[in-house]
Structures are given as structure tokens and as C-alpha cells.
Symmetry: C2
Subunit: 264 residues, 2 copies
Amino acid sequence: MAPKATLETGRAVRLACRNQTWTEQTSGLAYGFAQANLVILPKEHAFDFLMFCRNNPKPCPLLDVTEPGDPVPRNVAPDGDLRTDLPRYRVWRQGELVDEPADVTSLWRPDFVSFVIGCSFTFEAALLRAGVPVRHVELGRNVPMFRTNIPCRPAGVFHGPLVVSMRPMTPSDAIRAVQITSRYPGVHGAPVHLGLPERIGIADLQRPDFGEPVPVADGELPVFWACGVTPQAALMQARLPLAITHSPGCMFVTDVPDDTLAAG
Amino acid sequence: MAPKATLETGRAVRLACRNQTWTEQTSGLAYGFAQANLVILPKEHAFDFLMFCRNNPKPCPLLDVTEPGDPVPRNVAPDGDLRTDLPRYRVWRQGELVDEPADVTSLWRPDFVSFVIGCSFTFEAALLRAGVPVRHVELGRNVPMFRTNIPCRPAGVFHGPLVVSMRPMTPSDAIRAVQITSRYPGVHGAPVHLGLPERIGIADLQRPDFGEPVPVADGELPVFWACGVTPQAALMQARLPLAITHSPGCMFVTDVPDDTLAAG
């Protein structure tokens, strides 16, 4: 395994993934470079998926979309290769997980279109820099995520509920967090809800649908952001014959400095 | 009484107050021009009061401070006269309300310093323009205000609790309201708290310390902003021999377009 300390840039992480000296989660690597969710699917469904992202920009902030067959995300990593540069992938057939390889070159097709979607790591780094604690980071856990009763605006075969991630905060930190994350529309932006989980169909904060639970203390409010699992959930529900995504936590690390995603 | 429709600028309102053809509240007049709280006190206490404002910028956003004896707020209304241009004043002796005149020229002294302090009308107009409903405006009531358990940072004889105004909102409107009011640091800026009133010492939202109660519906959160009553409360507690303020709702209307107070 490549020593973590050597993986200080997007390019270094991508190369370590490409030669499989790094096959683990990317959280904490290449500090300051934006990481991204990945969805790969045949061109036949690419228009519908692009429209789904366009219809639901908060959960699906697109950082890049490739030309059919092109494995290079030219806007965010011009020397990257989406077939090899992630630590681990998930392969889906008819909506079922069938494999979790470290390389998808053998599956590649000339009609594959790749969607590179912003990830909350970028705004979490901004929160931490501003002195706003992020509970699941402190606890070394995956963020808790919940299906809501808010439907996404559908597009073709893609539909499903908005999935949100939850971070507990004091009210004053929640206000700061709205200010800070509003500056990052390319990585989910401002929260979509806070304070009243039952209003968005969340019955029990200790039973997330994805990720791991974290405690919500007295004097804290749950704050909810649109989550990149939303497009993946819509993708699974669509039961395409073949689709590929990143494996949870094993993101594509771009060349894009987090700071360039800040508006204003 | 001057017809309301003729009072479309700060200057028109000031002249109508000066000749006493307008002696009522200024809410809804001169749309688009910033209105302001007023505190007038002897120079002897002006340094302490200025430091109090500086120490507590969210409740005391200073739009203008005059030279001793000068009744003209040269930054915000160069042809204004703070002795005559408000519909009604309050005169305080030893912290007690002793008179509520429409003109304070007869009380004027060469050592009087005036503090013109931003008012929430500016950000409420921005909220309404953005489609965020403001309950007390809809109901035609004064905003409910509460003393909190958050102490202001004292300065000389001036001290006391932070006073907040409360507007109930749905969580998504509350998030929008944080974004919108963050742009207006000159008129109290972002909320100071939301969702957990007991945490800031507010036991009963239906029993405000100032203003009028408004209902908080199911599915709404109370959102709290620092309030311009804070410096007035500190002023009363200081029990100065003489001080003058605006009468509630009878603000000083400036020449400053609300939009010029927006950051970014």
C-alpha cells in the first residue's frame, strides 16, 4: 500500500489507484483537492440521467460529463482515467450489485458516458477550517444518510426520493454552516432542511438508511444536506442492464482545488 | 396627515415629520430606503456607547454617528435633522420615560451625540422580495422581541442582555433567510439562533418582552435575530440623566437605498 503521506495531490492518488498501490477509501487523501462521486452508464440512458441531474442539482451537482467512450474527465482531471483511477468500483446489473473490482477496463464500452458528481468532502473541509465541528469526522464514521419523503423531479427511467446526509450542530454552528456551505453550490450547497426530521419523513435519527448513526446531543439540531447517494439510489431503482459507480468512500480525486468551487 | 403615497423617499418622510404632517409609525413608507433606530446622548457617555456598539455589532450595527452638537447625520441623510425628522421621540431621564414629543429641538444641547443604528425593516424587505413570508408583517403586528440569557459585551456604564426578534419559518425558509440576511451585516445580518429557544433563555414564545406575540405553526422553527432594542435596553439600564431615542416604530428614514447595505 502506498504511504498515505505521499498521496498529497489528485494526480498522486489517481496514479496509486491505477497501479493498485492504493485500494482503500479516499477520505483524508490529497487535502484541498475536490473528490467526486462517479456514475458510468451506456449512452442510451445518458440523456435521461443528465436530465435527472439537471432536474435535481442539489443532490446531483455535476463537475464533469464525458463524451461517449472517453474515459478522461477533461474538465476536472485531464490526465485521469475513470476506468482505473478509483480505488474500488461497484458494478450493477439490473440494479443488483454483482462485483466490486479495482479496475473496470475489461468492462469498458465505446458507448459509456461518465458523470462526475460533487461530494460533501469539499464543504466538510470548509466547515472544519471555519471551526464548525463535524460529528462523524470526529468519530471516524461514515456520515448517516436518510431517504426522505421529498421526491426528486424524475427524468425518463430515473426517479426516487431525495437522500440526505445529516450532521448534528448547535443552532449557532448550524447558522454558520448554512453560510459556509452556501458558497459551495458545486458540492451540494446549503442544507435542504434542519431541525424537524419528521417533516421530511425521517422517523429515527439513530437508524440511517445508509452510513452509520451518530449521536445528536441536547442543544443540537440535525442539519440535512442533499446527498450524492440520491443519484445512485435512482440509478439502482432504474435497473439498467449495466451501470458502474464508485464504491462507497472510494471517490475519484480530481485536480480541482476545493477553493475554486467556492462561489463569491 | 400627509397622504402615505406621497412619502416615497427618505427626504419626503423627513420633511413630513419636520412639518408634523406625519406623526405615525414609518413602517411601509419610502419603500427601498433604509430606516434606522436612533439614540441621542451627551458626549460624556458617547465613548462608552460607541464602544458598546463596537463590542456588540450584531444588535448595534452603526449606520452613522454624528459630531457633538451636530444634528445632521451626514453619511446617511446630509440634509436631514435628527431633532425634527422623526415622527415621534422618547425622552428618558434617569432611565425613566418622561415624554414622547414630535420634536426635540427645545431639548437640544451642544454636547449631544447621535447614533443611527440599522433596523430590521431592510432585511425584511429582502426576505419578502425573495418570497420568504414574514409572519408579523402578514398579521400587521409589531415583531415579538425577547430578552435572552446571552450577555452583551459591556462597555463602561452600558451592559445588559442581547435582545432578539423572532420570526417563525419553515426549515427551508429559515435556511433561505440565513442566506438572505447574511448579506445585510449593516442591519443585524444573519440570525443568532434558531430552533431551540429554551437554550437562549426564552421560556414562552407567546410571551414576548417587547412587541406582540405571533403564532408558530406546526412544522415551523422560531428564528432569532439580534435586535435594535438591545442598545435601548442597555441605555435604560444605564439610567443616564438624559437620553433621547426614537419612539417604537417611528424610525429615522435615511437616503440610503436598502440595496447598498447588501454585501456581495
